[in-house]
Amino acid sequence: MKLYTLLRKERILLNLASKKKKDVLAELVEPIAKGKDKEILVAALLKREELGSTGIGKGIAIPHGRSLVVNKLELVVGRSKEGVNFNAMDGKPVHLFFLIVAPPQDPGNLYLMTLGRIALVCQEVVKKKRYMEPETPEDFIKLIKDIEDRLKQ
């Protein structure tokens, strides 16, 4: 499974405007849910954040959750140039977000695979802050594709 195949250019937000956790999540959710669905999804993601931040350090956060709001796994990428205080483990601001929302029943276990793939790609993308380079969503997909092509497997 390749991560870049799950990326859609309309779901790559390279200039996140929000500065707060809740607002960022709302902004990230926007391409996949509107109105009431959006509220429900943001509430579910915040519930997960209460358990412990999904900011894993080095400027990356992977907010995730399951919800009936989606009928298949959805991935949204967001980048904030200034960074957002996301209570990350290293205390540093988060610049790159990978939002994963999966339906409660996920027959192919895509959720697990996507999480693993993101973690793998993140190890490369944080080097020299490469995630800051892309100017357009297409460039971002290309960057991820290049990284994945170089990775073994």
Binding site: K47, G52, S53, R66, S67, L112, I118
Partner: protein, 116 residues
């Protein structure tokens, strides 16, 4: 949406999270990625949160929630999609949609319904 329905949805989200942390493969992956949780065991924390939510839910609604969850093992609070129950996909009688602000269950499968 009524508060009771919101609480039922919250309960369902907590149940999903518990299920994920109970899944050994997922749990391993979460740890591998480096998600840190408050306290030693996330499940313990989630169960505590679940208890807090249950306290606020009317007992008869909670009993019904448990019954539906046990029966279908998937979801108990579902959206009405285009007039159909999001759980069993049977048509929801139109007279029920007039009572949007009450806690309503699907006449076919018994799942709690909410309108989008």
């Amino acid at each position: 949406m009524t508060t009771q329905l919101e609480l039922l949805l919250e309960l369902q989200h907590i149940d999903y999270m518990i299920k994920d942390w109970e899944n050994s493969e997922l749990r391993k992956k979460f740890k591998e990625i480096g998600f840190k949780t408050k306290g030693k065991d996330p499940i313990e924390l989630l169960l505590k949160k679940k208890q807090q939510v249950i306290k606020k839910i009317e007992p008869k609604l909670y009993n019904h929630y448990q019954l539906v969850m046990q029966r279908y093992r998937d979801w108990a609070v579902v959206p009405v999609l285009g007039g159909f129950c999001g759980g069993c996909f049977e048509k929801v009688p139109t007279e029920l949609s007039g009572q949007k602000y009450e806690v309503i269950t699907c006449p076919n499968c018994g799942r709690f319904l909410y309108w989008e």
